[in-house]
Symmetry: D2
Subunit: 352 residues, 4 copies
């Protein structure tokens, strides 16, 4: 199929009659719809957009007054892309939300086929428990809850804790492969490991002897920002930045060298003050969360100014470039691993 | 997120006001929609359904009188699942259609990011040209056109040729990764290889020395039914059938041992006369095309009688069992490779 | 370490005294031996050599008069490379031998960690039983007995059957990883599968549904020459030969696309009459067995004339070119899979 | 082939005559040698042995007085297994040596097909330069020089620096695949990266975006002991030790999750004071270097007492158990990756 002109819309009466019979037979003429089905280039319905952190934070705290984390199971504001409102999606394939947990609150344990990632935006004393280990949350930390692993959250500190959630729910639902269940005993899972245990076992360029990965997801659930910062600093000292991306790394599953989860990849990039990136595009619509600094990004010519905590999105195949007015760090995630696994991913540096 | 009860719908005025502010901020309260987003089990909107071949063939021939293959670019009747009419899909993730090409007709060359597979239902003298090789079509043959390979069709014989098309268009579009183009020179691609060349090079348990696969799709585009039949016959002689599936094989990419294409898998199963299969379900909604024989399948209790040429579909996680009233061969395809690559696929034998 | 000059042999008395103390301490001075240990290029001790089939066949038949297959367990003449006599090797890493089995004879079942391959040279009615399936031997057939699979041989025909054995025994022994045992019941293993079953299940570009390979070796044990010939014929019709190799294919494991066994690869090449190949070398010393035709090969300048049934060897990194005075087919095998798995393999086309 | 009795040695005159003719034809009767070639279990010629560090250190310093590092290119005492003296091997497949570099010395750059690993035993101020990066050596650090990477060593400190070298030279030579060359300009390679750069880029559970590994060896050349100690401490706090191994980890290539190099694996194990390990054996002969503590190991019943710096070896398939009389850390390396890649590796826990 392709993007050639469909058959003239001035259909004859005979054809109209045939189309009626086709309709009754649960079928349809391809030639009337082909150009809509198979386009010459991506035509995303989702649009470039930014959610201002200060404004969203205010709404989150209001929600905190009106509804408990337990009542809601999760107190999350879904970020809905303006181009596709009403379906709880930030891109055509991903869900994102801002989650708030107040001091003393806990959110009950559950698990689901959908994979989740978190970027901690503010607050200390929060934790996510995954597979029996309580992972302490610090701002900038990247945390996983892989498919079908029990997880719960809590806040043992004195301040509100806020993070960005990313989930592959739309992908799971495209394939009609959703499963979910609450933790048997009800409340929260038992703590069976010490903090940092998974990182020590799997995240220090060593693995348990004769270790065999159980699945495609990373056995390391916690990527502390302190280590990321240190590495980015050394790399910036070592050489010059990529023209498009600055100093950009991808989080990996140390047991395979692949992505942390099969459906979502996560990235972090550091841009020196004054960095003026060259335009680039790829087919994986990408969700950015500003970790540090400020700047402006051009997405298909639309300018989006951003600062710490802001979330913005660049849709598939939109030409994107980043400028940093001060030293900046951007976290981002997308469905790149899924697109690559399915042979669909493309990227392009403009004016190559 | 999980399937627990959402917050009481009796929302307070304060909450209603908050929801209004959230809506203005391109956001929404997760707790109000969570149970719809993340279900405890798959809840496919597509339904079990059969398309009777005799009836569809009649409509195809009518279409043959009213519209040329060239005018339509492809003369195809899209099979639309009754549960999700109007979006050109047979399952939540796949497209299927019946294509007719009349003696002397040709369909022009094009290529697209979407992968396609064909099962030839009737007629001799047809061919599909892929990557410069004309593949002769015989009833029962399984033929690939992998992502981004130029392909065209023609009919050099005296009879109508009809086949079942399967494409991953909904998957490509979920990821907003559609690309397509017509063959530069216009009409049809040049023939640069002899018939059977790819099968000789890659399909005889040998490969060219130091061969390195270029992509994930099979370098063999043609799986002749004559070989399949012979193999199924030997296997049936060799041992007893699987309780659920009879004698069932999957087509493979001989350069990797994996699926022929990264998004779609294809299968063939032979059931002796009187076979009464045990119930089974999996998360990959499956499209069946009856190659030989007749029987009846039970899909979540709904009985579907089938005979040669009929196409029927079993949605995700629906309990399915097959009975063969005479020696039968079923061809089928699904999105299983995609679900496995993304860590989503599950199967279950009932009463295990 | 490297190939630089070792320290002057005019060692001082002090050094001589130190060397004595080192010797007592089960140690040695590296600087005195380094240039022998680590050479700038391969320095194979094995040499180019040919075994004339007529001559070897005569000796085999004499052995047939003097010793029964059962008495010998295997009636095999080991081909010993003249450069490394006395250690039962044809190259630095491989064993090869010519095996004879006379009408009515059987050789008992056993298994070992060493992997074996066979090329049938002459005779009909022979078989190798592997994993419960009796594989009929025809001239030119390539047959595997993977590591630790029970196997036995027999001759149900009226003529002597002769084949070339290739084993990785020197590799297994380098790693001190040899295991072996006779078939429990004594004589020969039970026949549990029908002839051709494995080829039907695994060798027709299909695999049993949800098949998971048990090991790295091919589930197909039999590569009939009839199919190989047909494929080579089509490929020769389809295009021009490789300058060095003619029309050359490698046997593959259809469940992985990799080599049939992890330690040994096997190859077949067809050269049209008058083919005059360009010089080539690689680090995998290679054993050739002439299937059809005749010609001459130049190995580091040494000319080796060959005809049907002859076996010849080209050592590591020796510049080799083949001329075919009549249409010829060469079978060959080497340790290439092992060298590639260990990151050691190199090849070079001369005058590139 | 197998371990059954060879043919009676009381050979007839006819057979003796045949054997003579076979010998002239560069061949030999398999039945006379089969039981030596293919053994029922490994029969390693190398033996259990320990090299006392104090004694070897004394010899190393004597060598330091008598020969310069540059004169020797490398000042190394080869550890020769008493069972196979004279061939510069510590096991049937590996080379090991103790290398000394004195303050102010440098060893020139070279590269070779052989892969090397180092364990630093004593001294500060030493470095190994690999691929343009100078890696500072600290006691306990594990350092790689993968196949065909230029490397040199130097000592910028005030004390002698000593480390254990492990190389796969016997494997490379088995396959006749040795290549080596000195650094073009002569002396030492240019320094092009900052210290710690490779570790920052590849060793922090992140990789450069769209990174594709160039080979099978780790892009991380340095595994600092400080990190290893910290991880071992956390793991010991987290749970109980393995019955055979204590708390044992394997060093990995973070870009693949596999072994650091394709031919050699390296391991570190911590045993609490009083640990009394259960017997175990595997086919990979293993070289141990005691990092901390003391204890005794039983190898096929032979007791070997060890302390810090000592090197000892356990041959293939020898039943081995470790006792720690004080809190101990053992570093070890073997050819396990090669054996696994070739399908040869086996292990056994005794009294399982």
């Amino acid at each position: 199929m392709s993007d050639t002109q469909p058959v003239s819309r001035a259909e004859s009466p005979e054809r109209a009659a045939l189309y009626g019979r086709l309709d009754k037979a649960d079928s349809a003429p391809l030639w009337a719809v082909m150009s809509q089905l198979v386009t010459p280039e991506p035509r995303p319905r989702c649009v470039p957009h930014k959610w201002n952190y200060a404004a969203m934070r205010k709404l989150l705290l209001e929600a905190g007054d009106l509804i408990t984390a337990k009542e809601a199971e999760r107190r999350v504001l879904v970020l809905e892309n303006p181009g596709i409102r009403g379906i709880s999606q930030i891109t055509q394939s991903l869900y994102a939300g801002l989650q708030l947990i107040l001091p003393g609150e806990i959110a009950p344990s559950h698990r689901h086929a959908a994979s989740a990632l978190r970027l901690i935006i503010e607050g200390h004393g929060g934790y996510t428990a995954v597979s029996g280990e309580r992972i302490p949350m610090a701002p900038g930390d990247f945390i996983l809850t892989p498919s079908w692993t029990f997880h719960d959250h809590g806040n043992l500190g004195d301040d509100p804790v806020v993070w960005l959630d990313g989930l592959d729910v739309p992908i799971v639902n495209l394939f009609d492969a959703s499963f979910a269940e609450a933790y048997p005993s009800g409340e929260t899972q038992r703590v069976e490991r010490i903090p940092g245990e998974a990182l020590a076992r799997y995240g220090t360029n060593m693995l348990p002897i004769e270790y065999v990965p159980e699945g495609a997801s990373s056995p390391v659930f916690h990527y502390p920002y302190s280590r990321v910062k240190e590495a980015l600093g050394q790399i910036e000292n070592a050489g010059s930045p990529d023209e498009c991306h600055g100093y950009k790394l991808q989080y990996v599953n140390p047991a395979t060298g692949g992505y942390p989860m099969p459906t979502m990849g996560a990235f972090v990039q550091q841009m020196p003050s004054g960095f003026n990136g060259r335009p680039y595009r790829s087919t994986d619509s990408t969700v950015y969360c500003v970790r540090e600094g400020q700047g402006v990004s051009s997405i298909n010519g639309e300018l989006i100014e951003w600062g710490a905590g802001d979330v913005f999105v660049t849709p598939s195949w939109c030409v994107t470039s980043h400028k940093a007015s001060e030293h900046a760090v951007l976290f981002s995630f997308s469905d790149r691993p899924a697109q690559k696994a399915l042979g669909l991913w493309r990227e392009q540096r403009i004016n190559d």
